[in-house]
Symmetry: C2
Subunit: 392 residues, 2 copies
């Protein structure tokens, strides 16, 4: 039977899959610089007879594998971008079975899984009732702000078409991310007239206003369940010790597992900024200059969840057990699935098998020895959702 | 009479004095880079027959004009350094009578006055009872932290020798600075383990600790009399929005006209920093990492005053009136005299005549047309303090 043969192929072709994986990782893909790696994915998709292969408007590599019908349309994806800046050495070093390279796990192994699955389906002539859209997305990390998945699901020709969304992100077998960790990111700039620390004392001071806002935020009592966090990650302002700064800025990260908690934290934060600016202006001396504030949204990732009782989560749990892990772990994270979940598309993010460590550092590594289990699991979930077409 | 001839000389030699002034200003003198200008002052001092001409250990240009006795020993000074960084174009542009150059007023006109007075005393054979030490100091501005005057008065061979100290700083005739504006400057660094904004939330956060300290300081009620000010002039910290910073820093400037008020503000500030770090550590989640704080003193300028009833201030007021300004203005500022005042040496800082504008900017200008009044005033005060020796 063709699925059994595909399972088998993942084992027999392990070395070739790992070579293909390394080949992908060695093509640099820094934030907002994913084009070369996207082109490479398009080539690989074509090799395995996917159709309508293209990079879309924002740079996602998209390819279709038509079933007997268009629907159910299952999207399976992994992300092209890494967290590493241009100029990073992306070359893969082999140490025995281990691969070492920036991004080799996150999300090199997800991209390799996409291609390995397309290859197995092609070689084993697996036919499906519905269709499968293979997508390598741009902009999953950091300031990318999920722009690849966002464009795909809200603006591209496939917007409002998907019946399920599966993201392969990182290694492992136990994890099933069905909850979307929401986040909002702000850059806050406070501006004033500035001046001399002695001569102009009493003017509203942008650095002091910012300090007041940080102190207010630091006093926020964030719940541990649903887990909710905040971070002023970066501050800067002022030219010299004896000069009142004319501008000061901070970058702030707010997160919660739960949409209402995120909204509550976000409201608190924005009120804290407004009140701090008011306090600073109120404290200024008569006739002295005021400060003004500008908040710019750097990122907005929706919270939400795919119900643990939904077909896709149940199927993922069963597939996990079939593939050898008795304790599937339901998780919450910030991934491409956030966008799908916010659109109420049944969506999960799962590991692509194997093991890894030191993610987001230059010493990131990936061990492919249990990769086949992850590929099998992904194939089972995908076929379960799209419907394996019985041979006539 | 020789003093009258000196007064006259300031008028007759106005053009030559201005050329000499421009010559001084065109020799670059950035903070901590005053050596070339100091050498030039030494050459000029030698031309006018001052003795013991040398640059001392920290770079002050020092020259003696012996009277009949060593004491009273009057120090007359101006400062070599400007606020402008290496690479600044210090060339003087003439626009009619006006000179334009960075530092042409602060303190080019003070240095020119030093030399013009030495020249007039030499040419007119003015003899004094006490002796006069001519000093062009280094490090008056900013991070120089008055190191030239400090060394001269506390460590050099002239330490504990001076009976009066007169600093010529900037232009004008009305101002008599007899109060020392004290300041203390701190760099505060908060360090922690850092981490991921989501995964490591609950760790004590250096940026948050700093924000708490700024907010506390911003709530300090500084008196307007004695005028007292504070400024967080610069903040920086953190690499990215979703990373807990491992370090954050601020530079803080505290000032007061009055020593006790400065001490009170300084104590409040240091307590605010300590309490903010404690608060941040107390608020961290169980088992999470702490932050630590390090404070480095960037500057310490003592407050104090020369009594308005002292001989030097009374003499300065009378001299100001004699030279044509009916309203001498008793002032408070941060100048080389701070060090002398803290050592209880009768000290004032006065303008060197003329007019100026745009000080501390690249478009600084100086108008020498009323310079002679300032030179006369300085000569009168100096001779009044050292004792004009009557011709035998």
């Amino acid at each position: 039977m063709e699925v059994t043969r595909a399972f088998d192929l993942f084992n027999r072709r392990a070395a070739e899959i790992t070579d293909m994986h390394a080949g992908i990782c060695e093509i640099p893909a820094s934030p907002f610089n994913e084009a070369a790696r996207a082109e490479h994915l398009c080539r690989l998709f074509r090799e395995h007879n996917l159709s309508d292969v293209q990079t879309d408007k924002v740079g996602n590599a998209v390819a279709m594998r038509r079933g007997r019908e268009t629907h159910p349309l299952i999207i399976i994806s992994a992300h092209l971008d890494t967290v590493f800046p241009p100029g990073t050495d992306f070359m893969v070093r082999r140490e025995g079975e281990i691969l070492r390279a920036p991004g080799v796990s996150d999300d090199g192994c997800g991209l390799a899984a996409l291609v390995a699955i397309a290859e197995a389906m092609n070689e084993c002539r697996i036919e499906t009732d519905g269709s499968i859209l293979f997508v390598a997305t741009v902009g999953e990390e950091g300031e990318g702000n999920l722009r690849g998945a966002r464009h795909l699901l809200t603006e591209s020709e496939w917007a409002r078409q998907a019946d399920a969304f599966i993201s392969l992100d990182g290694p492992g077998l136990e994890r099933i991310t069905h909850r979307a960790l929401g986040s909002r990111r702000w850059r806050v700039r406070v501006r004033g007239a500035g001046g001399h620390s002695w001569g102009d004392f009493g003017a509203a001071n942008p650095v002091h206003a910012l300090g007041r806002a940080i102190a207010r935020l630091a006093a926020y009592s964030a719940p541990t369940n649903p887990r909710t966090t905040y971070n002023v990650g970066r501050i800067e302002g002022g030219a010299s010790v004896n000069v009142i700064a004319s501008e000061a800025a901070m970058d702030v990260d707010l997160r919660s597992e739960e949409a209402n908690e995120l909204n509550r934290l976000d409201s608190f934060f924005r009120r804290a900024v407004a009140e701090s600016v008011e306090d600073e202006n109120r404290a200024r001396r008569a006739g002295a200059s005021k400060v003004t504030v500008e908040t710019e949204m750097l990122g907005d990732r929706p919270s939400g969840e795919t119900s643990p009782d939904s077909l896709i989560v149940r199927l993922a749990e069963e597939a996990t057990k079939i593939c050898g892990c008795n304790r599937p772990y339901l998780d919450c994270a910030s991934t491409d699935s956030n966008i799908a979940i916010a659109l109420r598309i049944p969506a999960i993010t799962i590991g692509a098998g194997g093991a890894s460590g030191n993610t987001h550092t230059l010493s990131e590594w990936y061990d492919p020895r249990s990769r086949a289990d992850g590929l099998r699991r992904a194939l089972i979930i995908m076929l379960g959702m799209s419907g394996l077409a019985l041979q006539s």
